[in-house]
């Protein structure tokens, strides 16, 4: 990308810098505001009298004696045992990502290699499945899960998340495999491998970038899901997002809103580390052409 073809004229550079600057402000400002506010009391952060109270923290001063307070974090992590939810989220994310990628790679690979029309229809039907509003699906599950005594447990939520994530995973991985030349696995098959061996020995080594990119989206889905987990998990098995929802509740108990705010800041921290670790893979994954319609 350092070639002369990309040297830009000054006005264009300026324009691009302005766009980027404006976007960064728009993207980061609400988060920074939240980060700052999570160390204040509710009366300041959600001040109806004057927004500047969130910056100066007058009520924080009178109620806690300092200009910042960690009470939101203490309340969420210690009093309300948010760490339990964090552990549940870790389990859910781990299993959802690994299983849906395993199923998705197998399916996506087959879809990319089949010349038959039914493969296309398979993809279209998967897309139609994705169109169904999640909230309808979940309320359809409830009677069945209660009937079979499956309601409330992590494995149930994991299986549901995997299933409703399949259409997207299949589409994305299908397009990724399409960009891996067919000659690779076909020559392996000429050498006497069967289809699965060819997949294992030839395709698996080169597929990681695309799989990691798809994995990022699966991860975000499992990590941020509210609709499924809030209705399918009982209180002890709650993941982080429904737990945050329960801090808000229908009738907000004093102080609990700040638990939610601090929990949101806490929830974002691991994502920061993850993006920094995986950013090269994410980019190289898509570099290989992961997402071609």
């Amino acid at each position: 990308m350092s070639s002369k073809a990309h040297k830009k004229p000054l006005p264009l550079t300026l324009f691009i810098t302005v766009v980027l600057g404006a976007w960064l402000v728009l993207a980061a400002f609400p988060f920074l505001w939240t980060l700052w506010g999570s160390f204040k009391v509710e009366g300041d952060f959600f001040s109806k009298a004057n927004w500047a109270a969130a910056l100066t923290g007058e009520l924080t001063q009178t109620e806690t004696g300092g200009s910042v307070t960690g009470s939101g974090y203490y309340g969420a992590w210690i009093e309300e045992e948010f760490w339990r939810a964090a552990w549940n989220s870790t389990l859910v994310c781990f299993f959802v990502v690994t299983i849906s990628l395993t199923l998705g790679t197998l399916g996506g690979y087959a879809l990319s290699r089949s010349p038959h029309r039914y493969a296309f229809w398979f993809l279209i039907i998967a897309l139609v499945f994705r169109a169904l509003p999640q909230i309808t699906l979940v309320s359809g599950y409830l009677p069945v899960f209660f009937e079979f005594n499956m309601w409330g447990y992590l494995p149930t939520a994991i299986v549901v998340l995997i299933a409703i994530n399949q259409p997207f995973t299949l589409w994305m991985l299908h397009s990724f495999f399409k960009n891996i030349p067919q000659d690779l696995d076909e020559s392996a098959m000429v050498d006497g491998c069967n289809r699965f061996q060819a997949f294992r020995h030839v395709i698996v080594p080169v597929m990681w970038p695309g799989v990691i990119t798809t994995g990022l989206f699966s991860f975000l889905l499992a990590y941020n899901d509210f609709a499924v987990t809030t209705l399918l998990l009982n209180q002890d098995n709650q993941t982080m997002i429904p737990k945050i929802g329960s801090f808000l509740g229908t009738t907000q108990t004093k102080g609990n809103v700040m638990f939610a705010v601090s929990a949101v800041v806490s929830v974002t921290a691991p994502l920061f580390v993850m993006i920094l670790v995986f950013q090269r893979q994410i980019v190289s994954g898509l570099t290989a052409g992961a997402v071609k319609g």
Partner: protein, 411 residues
């Protein structure tokens, strides 16, 4: 499956019972599983039930309880042996026939439950109430003093006081109200319509009858009030309305009795504000004598599809959950308890005033929920001036009728 379930149940049990001393509840085996809303009073009741020695008690308290309780009680055996509900939500359970009549259990084990706590429908007991609630007046004593007026007894007084406060520059928008489109807005209409003496349905039928003089008057009064509210009123639920009052922007409002404690404590507001917030009786409207407010109770039920042993265990555990033993200094202020030994504080004056003024309970009708939804969806257009009161009432009736046909209440 079974081992997961046991595991979840026993951990919940351990967590809950850690805080309360174990008590004997007159039964030593059985499964108790509670579903209910998540506010503090209900958590107290669930903890009280979990303190029964020898029972296997778990609870799932969540804001989404109404989305899962019918499904969770429909299986056989039901996942939940008890649902904690209010007078608006008990009908959904009775309509689906998932709660059992409690007459036998009351006769055998509940002779000491005061009769007025028993909720009976057609002579059969379906629930036991443990707390009461109602919307009443909350006001700023200092603001009313400045304009030289008594706390409003009617909505007309409230409008006059608001006009004066605006004139004198005490507050730009002195009236508050939980007018958020949806459930809250519908509830305010229900209050106002009852205050005008209206009946929601033709007697003995599911045919709606609100397109009348009282319906129109109720809507007009609501619109008159909104002129003195923050222009964002259609997005304000009771949380946001309380925040407005704590910020010192609102001087008078109609608010839930259960939320008054929050307003009058010293958190989240300047001393000038919280020291002056007082609770008054609910207001009347249009010259009527019945308050424009509804009475609410919260109570517990026992599932139909569970074994008789579990039903007995549930009954006794829940009875223990609402017994005088749960009342401590901390839990005393959580609700207007219907429990012996409960001493009300000044924050509860409003609810008792509502009961004494013989305010009406929220209608416990099988199809009221459908009308509530229709009200919540259609009043906003009228308040914003997009349509006339007649048109809004016609829309509400049409929306209700198509929903009631789908649910089999109308043909």
């Amino acid at each position: 499956m079974y081992s997961w379930k046991n595991f979840a149940a026993t951990t919940a049990f351990a967590v809950l019972s850690g805080t309360t001393a174990m008590a004997s509840c007159g039964v030593d085996a059985g499964r108790v599983s509670i579903v209910g809303n998540e506010f503090p009073a209900i958590k107290t009741v669930a903890a009280g039930a979990a303190s029964c020695a020898g029972l296997d008690v778990s609870s799932n308290l969540t804001a989404d309880h109404q989305k899962i309780n019918v499904a969770g009680m429909s299986g056989d055996p039901a996942e939940y042996t008890s649902a904690i509900i209010a007078n608006s939500s008990v009908v959904a359970l009775i309509n689906e026939d998932v709660v059992r009549p409690l007459d036998d259990l009351v006769a055998a084990h509940g002779a000491d439950i005061p009769k007025n706590q028993l909720i009976t429908i057609d002579g059969k007991i379906y629930a036991v109430a443990f707390m009461a609630n109602a919307q009443t007046l909350a006001y700023r004593a200092d603001a009313l003093e400045k304009i030289g007026m008594e706390p409003p007894a009617t909505y007309e007084d409230m409008l006059a006081a608001a006009e004066k406060m605006r004139e004198m520059g005490i507050a730009e928008n002195p009236i508050g109200g939980a007018y958020k489109a949806g459930w809250n807005l519908a509830e305010e209409f229900v209050n106002m319509y009852i205050g005008h003496g209206g009946e929601f349905f033709k007697p003995g039928s599911a045919e709606v009858a609100i397109n009348n003089g009282q319906g129109k008057a109720a809507l007009e009064m609501m619109k008159a009030l909104t002129a003195y509210m923050n222009p964002d009123y259609l997005t304000h639920d009771s949380n946001a309305t309380n925040a407005e009052m704590e910020a010192g922007n609102v001087m008078m409002m109609n608010m839930w009795g259960s939320r008054m404690g929050n307003l009058m404590d010293d958190e989240g507001a300047e001393p000038e504000v919280y020291e002056n917030i007082k609770v008054g009786a609910p207001m009347t409207v249009g010259g009527g004598s019945i308050p424009a407010s509804t009475l609410w109770w919260d109570g517990w039920t026992v599932a139909k599809n569970v074994s008789d042993e579990d039903a007995t265990a549930t009954f006794l555990a829940m009875k223990n959950g609402v017994s005088p033993s749960i009342l401590t200094d901390e839990t005393m202020t959580q609700a207007v308890w219907m429990i012996d030994g409960y001493t009300p504080g000044p924050v509860n004056d409003g609810v008792f005033a509502a009961i004494n003024m013989s305010a009406q309970p929220y209608p416990m009708l099988p199809f009221m929920g459908l009308l509530h939804t229709a009200l919540g969806d259609n009043i906003g257009d009228f308040l914003q001036g997009k349509e006339s009161a007649e048109q809004a009432l016609t829309d509400i009736e049409a929306a209700y009728s198509s929903a009631a046909k789908e649910k089999g209440f109308l043909q």
